[in-house]
């Protein structure tokens, strides 16, 4: 019987003697078992450090000796191992990767060591205000939705994960035909094909693979909510605001992407010009429209000094309201299109980037030429389409405003300054980490 074959994506190019390999699983934090948040991340790290029953030290020494790197990345809907290796060592690297995927070990001692490292990572997170605001925002924005599960887990969920959980998770996720391979850079296609085929052959058939959890679309915040993450001794605030955005499957996603480019996608965009260039209030002010397997928020990020936090939030809110009310100008639209058209080459100028785009499209269930089509759609939108997308998708009233700062110094002023707040919540910075 022929083994079911996993999907393979290719961007081979011999310009540099370097091969990139990604192997994606249909698992992300949304697939973590309830109460076991962080399981997918632990699984990938465990696979890397126990490949083929090796010790973690042996695995690390082998990978370094080959001139290679291998690390795990966990999103909400997908997870992947990403590796890079100097071309002359490709066969040995592939053998290791096959061991990691098909023959990991789940010993308790190694898991305990890994768990302790993962908990220490959470402590490190507490020192990083930019990461802290992002995590707090996502937890609050997706409250009650699978998207709110932290990929890193929490102290409590990490403590609950046992070797058997990871073994079951591995059995469920790493199945014949269920992976997606992406190969980029310098490598022999036959060799890589053989590796993928051999690996599929070594895995259990899909069989009774349990279905991926269905990801409902998240809801927008119920009102204009201030979510204050209280951290002592902050001279500066980290501010992340967001309302529900759009998904690539939405017809107006490209139009909203153009709107985001105009509003905060570049240095010359409205946010950066008003917050940084005109007022000097922050080193940066940008918007983002992320893509995941379900609808993501459009976020606005800036980090003014504590005394400027209130006027800065009010300014950004005003800019957002103006965008929603009046839309974009034809001049802005023309400039944004030139920027998107001309800068597109930098999303495809290396084999690794081309493979990454193809992998994203595959994992999100989008057409293989999604990124080219997306650009074409973005370049063809007119002002009416952009304004309509803004009107339909963005809201300054159903908006989450997460702020990391010292509450006793600026909390009351901030709360008073923000008009039409429907709720204000204050949480300690180390809560739920």
């Amino acid at each position: 019987m022929t083994a079911a074959e996993s999907k393979r994506l290719w961007a081979l190019d011999d310009a540099l003697p370097l091969l990139h390999v990604s192997v994606a699983l249909s698992a992300g934090s949304a697939s973590d078992p309830p109460g076991r948040e962080g399981a997918s991340r632990l699984l990938l790290r465990m696979m890397r450090r126990t490949a083929g029953g090796r010790s973690a030290q042996a695995a690390d020494e082998l990978l370094d000796g080959l001139g290679s790197s291998l690390s795990g990345e966990v999103g909400r809907g997908v997870a992947a191992l990403h590796g890079t290796v100097i071309r002359r060592n490709v066969p040995q690297f592939l053998a290791f990767l096959a061991d990691a995927l098909a023959r990991p070990a789940f010993g308790k001692d190694e898991l305990d060591r890994l768990r302790a490292e993962a908990v220490a990572d959470l402590d490190e997170l507490l020192d990083d205000d930019a990461a802290l605001v992002r995590r707090a925002f996502e937890r609050r924005f997706y409250q009650g939705h699978l998207g709110g599960r932290p990929t890193t887990g929490t102290r409590a969920s990490l403590a609950a994960i046992g070797p058997e959980d990871l073994e079951t998770h591995h059995e469920r996720l790493v199945r014949q035909g269920s992976l997606v391979f992406a190969f980029a850079g310098s490598g022999e296609r036959d060799l890589l094909d053989g590796f993928a085929r051999g690996l599929d052959g070594a895995l259990a058939p899909k069989g009774s693979l349990s279905p991926k959890p269905k990801l409902e679309e998240p809801s927008a915040p119920a009102g204009r909510v201030l979510h204050f993450v209280d951290k002592p001794e902050r001279t500066q605030t980290q501010i992340l605001m967001g309302c529900l955005g759009a998904h690539p499957r939405d017809e107006d996603h490209a139009a909203l992407h153009v709107a985001h480019t105009i509003f905060g996608g570049t240095f010359g965009a409205r946010l950066s010009q008003e917050v940084r260039a005109k007022r000097g209030w922050s080193y940066g002010a940008y918007s983002a429209l992320a893509v995941e397997s379900f609808r993501q928020p459009m976020t606005l990020w800036t980090f003014p000094k504590a005394e400027d936090a209130a006027p800065c939030v009010v300014l950004v809110l005003g800019l957002l309201e103006k965008l929603i009310e009046r839309g974009v100008s034809k001049r802005e639209l023309a400039l944004a299109k030139k920027y998107l058209k001309n800068s597109h080459v930098f999303s495809i100028d290396t084999p690794a980037k081309r493979a990454s785009l193809a992998l994203d499209a595959e994992l999100l269930g989008l057409p293989h030429n999604h990124h080219e089509e997306f650009l074409e759609r973005a370049l063809s939108v007119d002002k009416a389409a952009v304004d309509a997308a803004i009107q339909r998708r963005l809201s300054a009233d159903r908006l989450l405003i997460t702020v990391v700062g010292t509450h006793r110094e600026i909390g009351s002023e901030l709360q008073r300054a923000i008009p039409n707040l429907t709720a204000c919540e204050v949480v300690p910075f180390d809560q739920d980490v």
Partner: protein, 452 residues
């Protein structure tokens, strides 16, 4: 390119437009760099790389925070910010707007020894970028209000990178204590009161003094036609006169004769330690062996300190080590972040024990081989884009005058013997030449007030 052909590319109307071919330099096994020079001293490095239809255009000035005076720290960095704002013929914001229109990915950085400006863009836009960059080199406008606004941006950058950042604070303190005379003492971003005190006149003086063609190298990499590029450069930069560069007035750091140690409280959950030894300059023959040493010590998960402190010891969250890549003798730095309730002294004892071992026993050849492989991977990774190639070239051009030094260093690394690592360990890892900062968590009691 023949002298006759080159002469045909020089702009006769430009007083400094005469082009001179200087040398060809192999850049790795497949590529070749060409160096030219304009009569005003501007060095031009061209690398044809047709792997993507883009061009990376970098301008490296041989000026950094090392050239600043007490009371004026952070001036090189503030000027870097202002170099995006306003120019003769380009009102405030127009430079960036034009770059964005071209789809250019542009940025800049300032460090101890250099300041560099970079952009990558689709190849068809090269003529526009040449004009913009030549304007930037000679026609900066410094208005009081714009300088004041940009000072606020820089102060916010400082809060972000240093004042509210635990590692940023530690790093700043470490260098300030390790260097007492050399200008490496002060941070590139500058002390806050100095940033506050700058005037437009300060910036103008610094610009006129250091932003001259004879103090810069252009590094242009990508899908380009060298003859066309040279013709454009001669016309655009050939009108900029050279400057009389001031004599560099940097004090060498005296030999450190006693260890320096201090403790601070920071708003962090865990203890940290930053330990530094006086190390070699980038151009010193010892620098390569010192790089191998820091890789073996704490460069990766297979390194000695990772095993001792994290994998086996279970006491630390992070450990890393590096030797500074600077023009003058720098620091060999070791940073450790502890886990909850673990004391930094526990890690320090193990770090010092491993250092003593490195001075006592030769490292294994397998350890050197891993360090070399990892460096090779890093180098190849940095060469994937035109921008990455230009950065690699510009960095070594600015620091050592050898733009392909990245490859020379890798070759030198392959020749490192255990005895070399032993020698540099004994030469540099001396307790009396060390500086140690221990960071303790400030007692934390966030008072979360009742929410409405």
């Amino acid at each position: 390119m023949t002298p006759e052909r080159l002469a045909g590319l020089s702009d006769p109307a430009a007083p400094f437009g005469e082009l001179e071919f200087v040398e060809s330099i192999p850049f790795g096994p497949k590529l070749e760099l060409s160096r030219y020079r304009l009569k005003n001293g501007l060095s031009i490095l061209l690398l044809v790389d047709r792997s993507a239809p883009v061009v990376a255009y970098h301008t490296w000035f041989r000026v950094g925070s090392r050239h600043e005076k007490p009371g004026k720290t952070g001036l090189a960095h503030l000027l870097e910010h202002l170099m995006f704002v306003e120019f003769e013929g380009l009102p405030a914001g127009a430079f960036d707007a034009k770059m964005e229109e071209l789809g250019a990915d542009n940025n800049a950085s300032t460090w101890l020894d250099f300041t560099q400006y970079q952009e990558a863009f689709p190849k068809a836009h090269l003529p526009v970028v040449v004009e913009l960059e030549a304007t930037r080199m000679s026609k900066l406008v410094l208005e009081h209000e714009l300088v004041e606004s940009e000072k606020e941006v820089v102060k916010n950058e400082r809060r972000y990178r240093v004042d509210d950042d635990v590692e940023g604070r530690l790093e700043e303190l470490l260098w300030a204590q390790a260097f007492e005379h050399h200008t490496y003492h002060h941070p590139t971003i500058g002390w806050m009161p100095d940033i506050q005190g700058f005037t437009a006149a300060d910036c103008a003086t610094f610009y006129r003094t250091y932003y001259a063609p004879n103090n810069a190298s252009l590094v242009i990499v990508g899908d380009l036609d060298p003859a066309k590029v040279l013709r454009l450069l001669s016309r655009a930069y050939g009108h900029i006169p050279p400057a009389e560069l001031p004599l560099e007035d940097v004090q060498p750091e005296p030999t450190q004769l006693a260890p320096r140690r201090s403790e601070i409280e920071l708003p962090t959950a865990t203890e940290k330690l930053a330990l530094a030894y006086k190390g070699p300059a980038l151009g010193d023959l010892d620098h390569v062996a010192a790089s191998v040493l820091t890789e073996i010590l704490a460069g990766s998960r297979s390194s000695r300190l990772f095993r001792k402190l994290i994998a086996e010891g279970g006491m630390s969250a992070e450990v890393r080590a590096a030797v500074g890549p600077h023009r003058d003798p720098s620091l060999i730095e070791i940073f450790v972040s502890m886990r909850q309730a673990k004391r930094a002294e526990e890690a320090l004892a193990l770090v010092e024990s491993e250092i003593e071992r490195m001075k006592r026993e030769p490292v294994l050849r397998s350890e050197i081989e891993r360090a070399v492989s990892k460096s090779e991977l890093g180098l190849l990774g940095s060469l994937e884009t035109a921008d990455g190639k230009a950065s690699t070239i510009g960095f070594y051009e600015c620091l050592s005058g050898q733009p392909a030094d990245a490859f020379a260093r890798l070759s030198a690394m392959r020749r490192v013997e255990p005895s070399d690592v032993l020698r540099v360990a004994r030469r540099y890892l001396r307790p009396e030449a060390s500086t140690l900062i221990l960071a303790r968590p400030t007692p934390v009691s966030p008072s979360v007030e009742a929410a409405s």
